[in-house]
Amino acid sequence: MIEKNKIMKRSARWTTIGIASLLFLFPLYWTITRSLMPLQASFRLPPVWIPTDLTLDAYTAILLDGPYLDYLFNSTVTTVIAIALSLVLGVPATYALVRFEFPYKLDKHISFFLLSLFMLPPVVPSLSYYDIFQSLNIFDSQIGLGLAYTVFNLPLVVWFTRGFISDVPDSIREAALIDGATEFEIFRYVYLPLIKPGIAAAAIISFILTWNEYLLALILTSLNAQTMPVGITEFVGQYTIAWNELSAGLVLVTLPGIIFIIFTQKYIISGLTQGAIKE
């Protein structure tokens, strides 16, 4: 009876995981294989399930003949600016909020303000940003877009690092104070090394958000600073779609995220769950 129960449980588990994996992997398999096919084969139905003559034509077409190398460059520069700035601003601020007391419950209110930025839909301030960017001459530039993304990354940096900061025992801080370290030295040489996993998690989530963002990039760029997600629309002509090139574009834009989840899963999971679950 117990044995039968066990077998039933096991088959239920593997059915669930199996179906989920199949459903999650199929779109990726489809897109990757279509990107390696000639145009005619890429949209044929019945579909080519297992492609045999593979070609990199679609990739050379979009990267060398098309503007995709520029999009890749723009996305990379924008993302680096946004991550660097959100960490430089966000980590010290979170540290100050967790470790120090402020008058008038200021720490509570500021935490609340920074975290509530998460609720701000990018479309709401987009017209103001458009106007500001025009007058500051940073419209259609990687730096401008990076500056805007930083605002939307800040709440996640706070959310992802504060658990790690409060996990560091106070005794370590007190020991460093007794040794004559200044407050800044404690932050720089005691805390920063200890909360590296939290910073890594914050950096990765900032990367994913910034890299994948579409609407602000659409509004705040036109020709020079277009990012990858906006560039995808290039393949959708009015009458025809270059399906294999579209697939190659989709692979390129989604690839960094996939690489991140494979190699840095631990950080993403700890960061995502820390804020909500761990005390």
Partner: protein
């Protein structure tokens, strides 16, 4: 003696600089965020009570709140959000329960299940637009191969709504799984053991131990998802562009269109303010739940 003096010196220096350093660490982020948020908020609010530069009070709000289009968008949002959240909770918990055991290559399977989470939403929308295409899509191909009838998925209001629900659930079930799984993993083993000794069945254990334990985390996750669904709709934009006949238009898409396509900035500003009020009310509930569970756990 010398040690004591050194201590005193260190503490004094710490006290003196502490007040300056804490503001030096905190203020840059706060000022930066405030500059990027407060000005646009004033801007949006000012626009929302104007029409062609003249002050009109709440007239824009009155027009929006009484317009059929606004009601349609709220209906679209509701019809999209409720099934999405329900399906994500059901599938997410099912996966979390399936993963809650020791088995081989767990990390590998877990990676697969998490992949959709990190993909570009707009790109996912393009993929699903292709899958649901009436003539070139794999969905219709599979349906007709199975002898079933095919549909003009993205050309019909009802089926387009189903298609965008499928795409959203596909991408975000992993998030619900991750949160539920982590919560299940944190259930103290002795409680589970005790129930096993008492002869509780798996179903009873799930109903009376697992579910109540993970409920706070589920509530928080649902609210995070609700905020995410409300605030961006890149995927829907890529799949249907709000159509057919506006049946999949959501608030961010409507505001974008009013502002940048039709240039009716006052109308879109008033909609923005209403949108913010909606999302903030959910957000405060979220913050409240967060502080509540923090005390409880």
């Amino acid at each position: 003696m010398s040690v004591t003096r050194y201590n005193l010196f260190g503490n004094m220096r710490g006290r003196l600089t502490r007040n300056k350093i804490k503001y030096a660490l905190l203020l840059p982020a706060v000022l930066y965020a405030a500059a990027w948020v407060i000005y646009p908020m004033i801007d949006v609010f000012t626009l929302s009570v104007q029409s062609d530069g003249a002050f009109v009070g709440l007239e824009n709000y009155r027009q929006i709140l009484t317009s059929d289009q606004f009601h349609d968008i709220l209906t679209n949002t509701f019809v999209f959000t409720v099934p999405v959240l329900t399906l994500e909770v059901v599938f997410g918990i099912a996966l979390a329960v399936a993963f809650n055991a020791k088995f081989r290559f767990k990390r590998f399977w877990q990676t697969i299940v998490l992949i959709p989470l990190v993909l570009t939403p707009f790109a996912v929308g393009m993929m699903f637009r292709w899958f649901f295409s009436s003539s070139l899509g794999i969905v219709n191909y599979l349906l007709s191969s199975a002898g079933l009838s095919t549909y003009n998925w993205l050309g019909d209001p009802t089926y387009a709504t189903i298609a965008i629900i499928v795409a959203e659930v596909w991408q975000w079930t992993p998030f619900m799984f991750l949160m539920a799984y982590t919560a299940i993993q944190s259930i103290p083993q002795n409680i589970v053991e005790a129930s096993r000794i008492d002869g509780a069945s798996s179903l009873q254990r799930f109903r009376y131990i697992v579910l109540p334990y993970i409920l706070p985390v589920l509530m928080i996750t649902i609210l995070i998802r609700l905020i995410l669904i409300l605030k961006s709709s890149d995927k829907i934009l890529a799949m249907t562009d709000g159509g057919p006949a506006g049946s999949t238009t959501m608030l961010p898409m409507y505001i974008y269109e009013q502002t940048f396509v039709y240039g009716s900035t006052s109308r879109s500003a008033a909609t923005s303010v209403l949108f913010l009020l909606l999302i903030l009310s959910f957000g405060y509930l979220f913050m409240y739940l967060l502080s509540y569970t923090r005390h409880e756990v």
